[in-house]
């Protein structure tokens, strides 16, 4: 029989997270700090709107681009939060989570051989999606000493005449790093000068602690070369609703819509109605959740300080990224030993790229009570390791 499989997909490494998930889920009474989604349930008024739409019989496809009311609300939101004006009818596409937007955005923008710059550590899907789109992924290894921010030097060094697109994943999963206005201005200048497009994944934009998030799309000359990706999962605790969006130049959105139309048809209708409510009346929920994450973030940073575990201070998303290089173990070895010994699950930093080696991703989408127990276990574990050495 002939090989039924595509070489391209077979050659893509499975996500390192998957492997860890399989091991962790076989154990009992595990405390997990390994989850990349909010611990809050979707606020009730948003769920209620979803239920109401079902009761009213809103059970049909929407237009390929998504409900026009929702696209209008997204434009209002973007105008109010990041100060960029988009046209609801031609510059916004509603997708099945931010992840679909990443996939079809890449497919709509690259030709075979084009280079796509991917700063790592970062979310697990950029590299495989770039490969599936036929591009050549070029990894930029972000550094602990820069607090895992992308510097203009790192960017300039990675650019060749084949570079088409830069993926800009900030606020960052897994590091919690953000980029501030000054850094974004530098990056924007280089992109304009070298004629490079940007895919800015801003799914964690609402979760920054300190200054408000700044979008690269608001920099001079950038709106026309940026595909902005955002969604409802993180800000409104709506992961299971699978709803995201892309906003950008009409020509790119049009081609993305084509793929979306053939592959997906439209994003879930119920979720779209719920999302309209989220954007109209959800600010106070976001505020409440952000404050809560910020408290947990401080709690963890303080716990690390007490156990003398080095960790740069992250100002975004809901992750901290402590360094475990002193223990002379790979992050996978460390995470496995921690799981075996203390029943505590964290994700090895190496699951997010080679430059995550020597670090752990610890999520704080958990209650303080749970974090307190978990930090107790982590402290015991590293004390034991230090005693041994």
């Amino acid at each position: 029989m002939r090989n039924p499989l595509s070489d391209t997909i077979v050659n893509i490494k499975p996500s390192g997270i998957r492997k860890f998930f399989d091991i962790a889920s076989e154990r009992k009474d595990v405390i997990s700090l390994g989850v990349g989604e909010p611990d809050f349930e979707t606020p009730w008024h948003i769920r209620d709107e979803g239920i109401w739409s079902l009761e009213k019989g809103k059970t049909f496809y929407t237009s390929n681009s998504g409900l026009i009311e929702l696209r209008r609300e997204i434009c209002n939101y973007l105008s109010r939060r990041i100060n960029v004006e988009y046209k609801a009818d031609s510059e916004v596409l509603i997708t099945v989570g931010g992840s679909e937007a990443i996939d079809i955005g890449l497919r709509a923008m690259v030709n075979p051989g084009d280079e796509v710059l991917i700063p790592q550590p970062s979310y697990v899907s950029y590299e495989p999606c770039a490969i599936l789109a036929g591009a050549k992924p070029v990894i930029i290894e972000l550094k602990n000493e820069n607090d895992f921010r992308l510097t203009k030097e790192e960017l300039s060094e990675a650019i060749t005449d084949k570079t088409k697109l830069l993926i800009l994943p900030f606020p960052n999963n897994p590091t919690g790093a953000i980029l501030e206005r000054k850094e974004l201005e530098d990056i924007a200048r280089i992109c304009v000068e070298k004629d490079i497009y940007v895919m800015s994944d801003e799914i964690y934009a609402e979760l920054t602690y300190g200054n408000d998030h700044v979008s690269i799309a608001s920099m001079p000359g950038m709106k026309e070369r940026t595909i902005l990706i955002n969604g409802f999962s993180k800000a409104y605790a709506m992961t299971g609703w699978r709803l995201g969006y892309a906003a950008g130049p009409k020509a790119i959105i049009e081609q993305m819509r084509k793929i979306h139309q053939f592959a997906i048809m439209c994003a879930p209708t119920t979720s779209q109605y719920a999302a309209v409510e989220a954007l109209r009346n959800g600010d106070k929920d976001v505020e409440m959740m952000r404050e809560s994450y910020d408290q947990r973030r401080r709690f963890l940073m303080n716990a690390f300080k007490e156990m003398k575990l080095p960790c740069f201070e992250p100002y975004g998303a809901f992750y901290v990224f402590p360094c475990i290089k002193e223990f002379n173990m790979t992050s996978e070895e460390f995470a496995l030993a921690l799981l075996e010994d203390k029943n505590l699950a964290v994700v090895p930093g190496s699951a997010f790229g080679d430059s995550g080696e020597g670090f752990l991703r610890i999520s704080y989408a958990y209650s303080i009570e749970k974090l307190r127990v978990a930090m107790g276990r982590l402290a015991e574990f590293i004390t034991k390791l230090r005693e041994k050495s």
Binding site: I17, S25, V35, V124, R298, F299, N302, I368
Partner: protein, 160 residues
């Protein structure tokens, strides 16, 4: 900052000072001073515990009593409200807009205890015109807290 402190302790007043100062990103001594100041100023009026008495064997009965009264010249409703809220069995007293004037909540051990209070103490007050007593049959949610046991964490154990 005060609002942040209050928002937190409104839901959980049992947290220790050292931990709360970390959560709010302030010095422990500043936090202690703020709390003391707010207690003195009467902003923080007490630290209570929310108890689901249904899960405890001892019986308790709660009632809401709608009271219509004649306001008094020069004092409005304040004097009559005071006469009512001074009874220790009265848990809360509110002046209400709408069909009646005062809403009084009561806690007692038996139905008789509550009806005695209403008939012999409350209704006999000069300014009280009428009362309507409503007994609470079941508490679903109290002080922003749902009384049902919480759901387990339904998320998968590790996700990207």
């Amino acid at each position: 900052m005060r609002e942040k402190i209050l928002n937190y302790i409104e839901k959980n007043s049992r947290v220790d000072l050292a931990e709360l100062s970390v959560l709010l990103g302030m010095e422990q001594v500043d936090l202690a001073n703020e709390l003391e100041a707010m207690e003195k100023e009467g902003i923080i009026c007490g630290y209570h515990t929310l108890i689901d008495w249904d899960k405890v064997t001892s019986e308790r009965i709660n009632a809401l009593i709608e009271v219509r009264v004649t306001p008094q010249r020069g004092q409005g409703f304040d004097a009559i409200a005071e006469r009512i809220y001074k009874y220790p069995e009265v848990e809360a007293t509110y002046l209400i807009s709408g069909g009646y004037d005062l809403l009084v909540t009561l806690e007692g051990k038996t139905l008789k205890e509550i009806s005695n209070f209403v008939s012999s103490k409350l209704s006999t007050l000069d300014s009280v015109i009428s009362t309507t007593t409503c007994f609470i049959l079941k508490k679903y949610k109290d002080h922003g807290t749902i009384m049902k046991t919480k759901n387990e964490d339904e998320r998968m154990i590790v996700t990207p």
